[in-house]
Symmetry: D2
Subunit: 145 residues, 4 copies
């Protein structure tokens, strides 16, 4: 059975190997089966005209957390693709330390469901989100449908 450290190492390796994730600057702080927690620093250049962190950035952050949570369940022989992302913005986010959590609700034979949150350094809930994922056997021919 997978333990936390194996999953944590696997997720960190994946993030380092992905150009987008590496550039985005997240750190994986916790990983268990179906459960992931990330740390991320919102910088001044993530602010919109109102001085708040842009909603697209928060959507990206929580999508990464949920996708990695799905990742801990599907195992190496299957891949997952986001088919649906829903994000509710509860409170404005300001630059500074944020935390994102992703939790698997269910992974079936073809479809996976996860939920996620973003909180600020004081623990205030800023975002709640849900994601639906298509889960397929890894293809060797590179086709994507």
């Amino acid at each position: 059975m997978d333990d936390d450290d194996t999953l944590l190492e696997d997720l960190r390796r994946r993030i380092a190997a992905s150009p987008f994730h590496a550039g985005f600057g997240i750190s994986v702080e916790h990983a268990a089966a179906g459960d992931v927690r990330l740390g991320w620093e919102a910088r001044a250049d993530h602010r919109n005209l109102q001085g708040l962190v842009h909603g697209g950035i928060l959507a990206t952050l929580v999508d990464i957390a949920m996708g990695l949570a799905i990742r801990t369940i599907v195992g190496p022989s299957r891949r997952h693709v986001t088919i649906d992302l829903g994000v509710h913005y509860l409170r404005p986010a300001r630059p500074g330390r944020l935390e994102a959590a992703g939790a698997v609700v269910r992974v079936g034979s073809q479809v996976g469901f996860a939920e996620g949150s973003v909180t600020d350094a004081t623990g205030r809930l800023l975002v709640r989100a849900s994601g639906t994922y298509s889960v397929t056997q890894e293809r060797t021919d590179g086709a994507t449908d």
Copy 2:
């Protein structure tokens, strides 16, 4: 009545003044009342481990298009905040030229609704999205609720 050029100028000025939007690198290609079209170049560093453009980036792009479409309707005395963003991923996106469209469905006294799309250079539909926005009178005290 606003004409296209006035709206186009206003949106371009807003984008230039927002640290996040300026860094993201979009261009406003069309703007009419309730209707906005953006151009954006997905680069190699937007790819995930599978070589596809990360879904969070596409969510950001279509959220910007929808928010700017709402912007063309609410006028200078009101501000809008995203309360809900829903994104459906229809096909994988690869690095290259993308186009995002935002269209207002309705703006009421307190809530606005918009829909959006992302297409690739060949016109294939990659993303469909919807957004809900809280529309309020601009505050002068800087409070955000």
Copy 3:
């Protein structure tokens, strides 16, 4: 190639054979490949405490329209199951004649996407919705997972 009348007959037969649909009281007014339009009468007993048609009823109506639109594309050998339903309520609905439209956005090998609307007798848009469907080969063993 399927023509309208064949699809129309197929959808009407399905509705008559489904206990829920038959009781709900919809009529299929138009059907083409990927495109369905339904008529439905909201009655006094569909009102909530505020005298408006309950949102769950409108969600049901637009889900039926979208599901039938998917049905026109998947053909007899595949079945579809709703995995995600998103409904935006633009304006309140009152008892009387309503119309619901469903349109397919894309049907892939495993997942289908549709969008839908509900309008009142004067053509005012009351609801916009999106649905995601899992599309699978019909099983003969009765299993659902």
Copy 4:
């Protein structure tokens, strides 16, 4: 401070006074501030052609649970209207006893957020949902916009 019994009585009175809710046949089993649990019996005539409870019915059930949860927070002087309903279908539902839960995530000055679930008699999670609500001061002029 409101206690459970006062809230429970208020919700039961509201349900009895609403034509739609009374006909739908739910019972309020638990109510605390921000937290509601309902019981409901899915009957044979709620089945679709595949013998499963129609998704629109489950959307209605969870929307009622979330709306009542919002109701426990907004108090008598404010009314709430659903602006957005998102439903994820995790597993098929068969006729029999179902339970729906609604929980408030946040109620701000203008917008409220809730989440909900539907489970079957064995405790299996069938549906997860989220709702966004416009919260306004009760109007005395009967206007809805």
